[in-house]
């Protein structure tokens, strides 16, 4: 059985994708990347990730629309999502938790290392998202 966990990182900033990928692959996590919400959906259809790292400020559909979509799709409902955004808006945070995100992290408040560790522990303690 393939015990390697997969993480889907939805982030439109290429530089940040690069940094995250470096970190994740160091931790031995299988890395999927998407720059837009639409792209993320395509990737999810290919393979359901164990965890989704979701940025909110993206062109196109936007993070919340994707989140809504996931929750509305029975197959994708259970995928754990962690929002990592520049915005500390309480509004966004509330909305996010209403859509059952596991956590909401504000980029400026965390070191990349810390975020990566959080992701790691979440991956360790969650089972595969596939029923």
């Amino acid at each position: 059985m393939d015990t390697t966990k997969t993480i889907l990182v939805v982030e439109d900033e290429v530089a940040l994708q690069e940094a995250i990928r470096t970190k994740m692959e160091k931790e031995g996590v299988s890395y999927m990347a998407a720059s837009t919400a639409e792209e993320a959906l395509v990737k999810i259809q290919e393979k359901i990730p164990d965890l989704i790292w979701l940025d909110l400020l993206m062109p196109g559909m936007g993070g919340f629309a994707l989140l809504q979509k996931l929750r509305d799709t029975p197959d994708y409902k259970a995928i754990p999502v962690v929002i990592v955004s520049v915005s500390a808006s309480a509004e966004k945070i509330r909305r996010a938790f209403e859509l059952n995100v596991v956590d909401y992290l504000v980029k400026s408040q965390y070191k990349l290392e810390d975020i990566v560790n959080k992701m790691k522990s979440l991956l360790t303690f969650t089972g595969p998202a596939v029923n």
């Binding site: 530089a15 470096t22 915005s87 509004e91 400026s108 070191k111 990349l112």
Partner: protein, 701 residues
């Protein structure tokens, strides 16, 4: 006792006493009179007797003297017969003769003697005459004859006379002695008796008189006392005689008098009272009359003065009238000038009266609004002009009320637009100023100036959206820089030297600073653009403060500082506030307090209730703000010199954001600070809290 009762029949009757006394007195007088009459008579008889005797003796002495004279003359003639002594002899002889005739017969016993003397005298005179003749005839030789005739005869005659004289003297002496005896021994006794009687009578009379006068004195005394007003004086009892009756009668009279007097006094007092009243009212009337008189005089005087004044005023009125005409002309000119000025102003000008009706408009107003002046003048302002906020809500009329109440000029909110005639919305900047009468300080209306600020608004919007977009665009690359620096430091790209680490740490710190700066800029831009939504919910200040402290815990622990929170009252009432807004304010102030205070210092947070406000205070004992830089603290990007040294990474934007937020909820923010001692910041929140406000975004970026 009835004074008429006892009559003078009583032995003690006073009249009887008086009569008795008087009788005794009369009797004594009579006795005394009689005695004195008798004595006087006796004295008189003695007196005449003595007188008679004396005369007798004198007569006899005369006889003697004449005899002696005759003898001497004869003697002389005898010696000197030539001398003429006829006259003298005749004189003495007649004298002798007369004297002899004068000899009186005083009693029967002397009759003989007297006869003898008379006879002897005649004889002697004859002898004498004979002698004279002898002398005349004989001359010197007469002597011898005379010695035998005359001289012995004369001698004999002299002896006879002398004997009679002696005898008369003796009788005289006897009478005198008898008189003396009677009047020195007998009569004095009776005199003394009379005197005693007189004395007795005197005392008796005196006594009875006193009996009269004493009561009368007493009565007089009592009358005197009564006169003096002592109506209680009474004559003491005087017995039952008339005086007594008089006394008691008098007493009774006084008694009655006293009673009458008392009654009278009463009546008098009463009447006096009434009289006084009448007098008072009369006086009052009198004074009223006086006043009326005076008032009338004053009125007359005033009328006279008024008349004069009227004359003067009429003249002045004439002058004023012509002056007024002149001034009206000038005023008109001035008015035209002002209207011209108003027309020339480059902003829209509208003047409203107190009924909020349009009185004056200028050309620019016509241009902006699309109405003509005629269409606007006289109409109600709010009927024609509709002002809307950015969110299309109408602007509350209260904004204009302050100006109408002459309190102060009002600058309307910067987001308003006005709806023109064809319903376009034109953004305007508007100021409403009260028109105040300089003397009475009353409002006479308002003057409104406004201008089309489309360009400005657009500019402002552009600026703000630029800042928003820019800030957003900046945040992502900043995050990227931050993470990569972090990875470098963490050795994710391999080991790095100490120096390399140090450099990258500087980069990392730099990105942190920029992130903080960008976040603040974004927030400020949002607030200034009025895009921030306010959603008040009950907030407990103490809890919020504690929450903020949690996020700052690392800093606090690092600097080993303590923070104390006190509320007054405790617990402090919750206030409706937007959580994000109050958080931002509190966090800014407390993080400043921490950053600018030294290690181990204390920071005090006090929340107290004052009138309708809550006052939040953050007190630190840090570096303070220098006095010459205190007025710039709320400027964007301003850092005080000492602050810059201590915390180089500060942006200088925190305080401007805090000020914007506090004033946004109509609170006040101020501070006290002394360089080197510390700073205390205060801000107020109305207890009614923040007002809800619509907006595209919340404050947190």
């Amino acid at each position: 006792m009835d004074p008429n009762h006892k009559k003078s029949h009583s032995l003690l009757s006073f009249r009887a006493k008086i009569i008795a006394a008087f009788s005794v007195f009369m009797i004594t007088n009579i006795v005394f009179g009689a005695t004195f009459y008798y004595l006087f008579h006796r004295l008189d008889s003695w007196n005449s007797h003595i007188k008679t005797m004396y005369t007798q003796v004198q007569t006899y002495t005369k006889l003697e003297d004449y005899t002696d004279n005759i003898q001497n003359i004869i003697e002389e003639l005898a010696t000197n017969p030539k001398v003429d002594r006829t006259h003298d002899i005749q004189e003495n002889i007649s004298g002798l003769r007369d004297a002899a005739n004068e000899v009186m017969v005083l009693n029967e016993e002397e009759k003989k003697d007297v006869e003898q003397v008379k006879t002897a005298t005649v004889t002697f005179i004859e002898t004498t005459n004979a002698a004279i003749d002898t002398v005349k005839t004989k001359g010197v030789k007469a002597r011898d004859i005379l010695d035998t005739t005359f001289f012995p005869a004369q001698d004999k005659y002299s002896v006879l006379v002398r004997t009679n004289i002696a005898r008369e003297n003796k009788e005289f002496q006897a009478i005198y002695d008898g008189y003396m005896v009677e009047f020195t021994k007998t009569h004095p006794f009776s005199i003394a008796l009379i005197i005693v009687m007189y004395i007795v009578t005197f005392f008796l009379t005196f006594f009875f008189a006193t009996r009269v006068t004493q009561p009368i004195d007493k009565i007089t005394e009592v009358i005197k006392k009564i006169k003096e007003g002592d109506l209680n004086a009474r004559i003491p009892s005087e017995g039952f005689d008339e005086i007594g009756q008089l006394a008691s009668g008098f007493n009774t009279m006084v008694e009655n008098l006293q009673q009458s007097y008392a009654k009278m006094e009463q009546t008098v007092n009463q009447k006096t009272g009434e009289l006084e009243e009448k007098v008072k009212s009369a006086e009052l009337q009198n004074s009223t009359l006086e006043e009326t008189k005076r008032a009338m005089l004053n009125l007359l005087e005033d009328a006279r003065l008024s008349e004069e004044k009227v004359k003067v005023q009429a003249e002045e009125l004439q002058k004023a009238l012509s002056e007024t005409e002149r001034l009206a002309h000038i005023a008109n000119q001035e008015r035209n000038t002002y209207l011209l000025l108003i027309s020339s102003i480059g902003e829209g000008v509208v003047v409203l009266d107190l009924d909020k009706k349009i009185t004056i408009v200028n050309h620019v107003t016509e241009q902006i609004m699309g109405y003509t002046a005629e269409e606007m003048i006289g109409k109600s302002f709010f009927d024609l002009f509709a002002f809307l906020h950015r969110d299309k809500k109408p602007v509350e009329e209260r904004f204009w009320d302050e100006a109408f109440s002459a309190k102060q000029a009002v600058v309307l909110p910067s987001d308003i637009s006005v709806q023109t005639k064809d319903k376009t919305l034109i953004p305007v900047a508007e100021v409403v100023s009260p028109i105040v009468d300089k003397e009475t300080q009353e409002s006479k209306g308002v003057i409104i100036t406004f201008r089309d600020v489309r360009e400005e608004r657009a500019l402002e919007d552009a600026r703000i959206s630029f800042i928003s977009v820019a800030s957003h665009q900046l945040r992502t690359p900043l995050t990227s820089m931050r993470w990569f620096s972090e990875m470098l430091i963490g050795g994710d790209a391999g080991d790095i030297s100490e120096e390399q680490r140090h450099f990258v740490e500087r980069i990392y710190q730099g990105t942190d600073r920029m992130i903080a700066l960008v976040n603040l800029l974004l927030q400020i831009a949002r607030v200034e653009a009025g895009r921030v939504r306010i959603e008040p919910a009950p907030v407990d200040m103490k809890t919020t403060t504690s929450g903020v402290l949690l996020t700052l815990k690392t800093m606090l622990d690092q600097k080993k500082q303590t923070i104390e929170i006190h509320t007054d009252p405790d617990p402090f009432p919750t206030i409706p506030m937007d959580q994000e807004v109050i958080w931002q304010v509190v966090q800014n102030l407390i993080s400043n307090a921490i950053r600018y205070s030294p290690e181990n210092s204390t920071i005090n947070v006090n929340i107290k209730k004052t009138d309708n406000y809550a006052e939040y205070t953050v007190e630190d004992h840090g570096i303070g703000i220098p006095k010459d830089q205190q007025n710039r603290i709320f400027e964007k990007f301003f850092r005080a010199e000492n602050a810059l040294k201590m915390v180089p990474e500060g942006s200088g934007l925190g305080m401007s954001l805090v000020k914007l937020l506090v004033e946004g909820w109509n609170g006040k923010i101020w501070f006290e600070s002394e360089e080197g001692k510390g700073t205390t910041f205060h801000f107020t929140i109305p207890l009614s809290g923040m007002e809800a406000r619509e907006g595209e975004v919340k404050l947190t970026v």
